[in-house]
């Protein structure tokens, strides 16, 4: 089992604009790492770099000592780094079971084995009743859980959850927290949680990184982040700004 997924001084530029500047971040196994930041901070770009959807202009992605930079996305999944997407991106025409099976066959299982494992995963999450439902017709809370199930097939070493709580009520978010804790406790993955429900991040994450304008501006445990003026500044601006003293 790998110990750490690491972004090592990663930079990304689009058309000369820097989306990420020398960002380093560790995702240790068996823990929940949080990534927060205002709109346009570069969170999704960082996830894309870690999962092979974006080649870093500079820097490397490492899993322990293995250099993953530049590998294609499907190869990265084979190595054991899974992700979900902000917009769900379920295979809308396929059933829920088939959605999970895709990961199984994508990772080289035969279809029957994949179906078996997919069913086990649905049971583990507690949504096996949905197995035959067409994914495109799911309500969004179930959609998120299916997407997480799809990512968790074949025990990835790390799983990156991109805004899994978007649009969820407080109660649904509580269920999600419970699920994330089970992922850590029962599957032993390392989790990177990108979320704008900051309350949720503060509650569930062991360590939180704050990204703003492509730079990690602060990091630490919940209490540190909660009290951080830098974080408040990044999101809301500050009183000091308002008085025009520092800009």
């Amino acid at each position: 089992m790998a110990d750490t997924l690491r972004a090592d001084t990663v930079s990304v530029s689009f058309d000369g604009l820097r989306a990420l500047s020398s960002v380093s971040l560790d995702v240790p196994a068996g823990r929940v790492t949080g990534l927060i930041g205002p709109n346009g901070a570069g969170k999704t770009t960082l996830v894309n770099v870690l999962t092979g959807f974006q080649k870093p202009s500079e820097g490397r992605v490492l899993m322990d000592a293995q250099d993953l930079s530049g590998l294609a996305a499907h190869k990265i999944r084979h190595i054991g780094i899974a992700r979900t997407f902000q917009s769900g991106r379920l295979f809308g025409d396929l059933s829920v079971l088939d959605n999970l099976e895709v990961t199984g066959v994508g990772l080289g299982l035969r279809r029957r084995e994949a179906a078996q494992k997919a069913m086990e995963m649905l049971e583990w999450i507690g949504i096996s009743l949905l197995a035959e439902t067409i994914a495109g017709s799911l309500p969004y809370t179930d959609e998120r859980r299916v997407a997480i199930g799809r990512a968790l097939m074949e025990s990835p070493k790390f799983v990156l959850l991109d805004e899994p709580a978007a649009g969820m009520s407080e109660e649904e978010a509580s269920d999600l927290i419970a699920l994330i804790r089970r992922i850590i406790a029962e599957l032993g993955c390392g989790v990177l949680l990108i979320e704008h429900n900051i309350g949720l991040v503060l509650e569930v994450c062991d360590h939180i990184n704050v990204l703003d304008s492509g730079v990690i501006i602060d990091e630490g445990a919940s209490d540190h982040i909660k009290a951080s003026e830098l974080v408040r500044h990044a999101y809301m601006g500050t009183q000091i700004d308002a008085e025009g003293a520092i800009l």
């Binding site: 058309d15 894309n48 974006q54």
Partner: protein, 304 residues
């Protein structure tokens, strides 16, 4: 030197027709994401509109007898009308359909136009004689160029310039270019969707009509399938030019025409019949090199 000039004129003459075709396809694609396979049939329709319906081999010209000053505007108008009508009758009802469905509908529409012509004119190609004195050669720097070839180049050039002027200098043109790039944003700035789409179809029909006139004069033949090869090359030119890029379509139309002439000249004799195979292999290589087209707008960013 004269040989080079000769080749240059050949290349320009062939390329300019493809360029006109590509522009007609690209205009519609830009505003509607529709690959209009009926475009080639508009070309044939405009040519046959000059003739009296009959199944004879030698065409009986009807409005084709009119003096050029009347004939040309009438044919252009016919092109614009059939194009706009097809938008109103067919494509308007498919605005939200997927591209494959729209494409097949355009093909079915072309099929209908073709068979309407077939019913009235039979499938035999007809000899027509428009402005026959244009085939006399003229001498330019020692190269003997058919007057018509020269005119084709000049006319295409004039049409392109006129269209560029229209696109660059008029409000319709401005709105059309904007709509081709980002339709929703253009509408949020008050650009009327229907008006832009109709204008695009009208201009595209005008272009088809002018190709029809040039081809009929050049070949002296009216053939129901005469538009198809041009449409196909134009379609290819539009894609490798970069979908949504009008200058890209024009340049690639010219390039494909020029390439086919150059291949014809420079391929060894044995390989010459296989010219199109070389040409289309080059197209595939071009796509591999630049899948979004050579002149694609550079806005490709993050895809996730």
């Amino acid at each position: 030197m004269t040989a080079v000039l000769q080749i240059l004129f050949d290349a320009l003459a062939v390329g300019s027709i493809y360029a006109l075709g590509a522009l007609g396809i690209a205009l519609i694609f830009g505003v509607m994401r529709l690959v209009n396979f009926a475009h080639g049939d508009y070309i044939a329709f405009c040519v046959f509109a000059m003739l009296v319906p009959s199944t004879d081999v030698v065409a009986i010209v009807l409005i084709g007898k009119l003096p050029a000053i009347l004939l040309i505007p009438i044919i252009l108008l016919i092109g614009a009308v059939i194009s706009v009508l097809s938008e109103m009758l067919v494509f308007r009802h498919l605005r939200n359909a997927n591209p494959a469905t729209m494409m097949i509908c355009s093909f079915a529409l072309g099929f209908v136009i073709q068979h309407v012509l077939l019913m009235f004119y039979s499938s035999r190609p007809k000899a027509i004689n428009l402005w026959s004195n244009l085939s006399l050669p003229v001498e330019i720097f020692g190269a003997r160029i058919p007057l018509l070839q020269l005119l084709t180049i000049i006319i295409t050039f004039v049409i392109l310039v006129a269209l560029m002027w229209f696109l660059k200098r008029t409000r319709y043109g401005l709105e059309m270019r904007a709509a081709a790039e980002d339709f929703t944003m253009a509408r949020m700035l008050g650009v009327r969707a229907n008006r832009v789409i109709m204008t695009a179809f009208a201009v595209s029909g005008l272009l088809a009509a002018s190709i029809g006139l040039i081809l009929a004069t050049q070949t002296g033949v009216a053939d129901i399938r005469m538009g198809m090869p041009i449409m196909l090359v134009a379609f290819v030119a539009t894609v490798i030019g970069g979908l949504g890029s009008l200058p890209g379509a024009v340049i690639c139309g010219l390039l494909i025409g020029a390439a086919s002439v150059l291949l014809q000249v420079f391929l060894p004799l044995d390989a010459r019949p296989f010219r199109d195979a070389f040409l289309y292999s080059a197209v595939i290589l071009c796509l591999l090199w630049r899948p979004d087209g050579i002149f694609a707008p550079r806005s490709a960013k993050q895809r996730v």
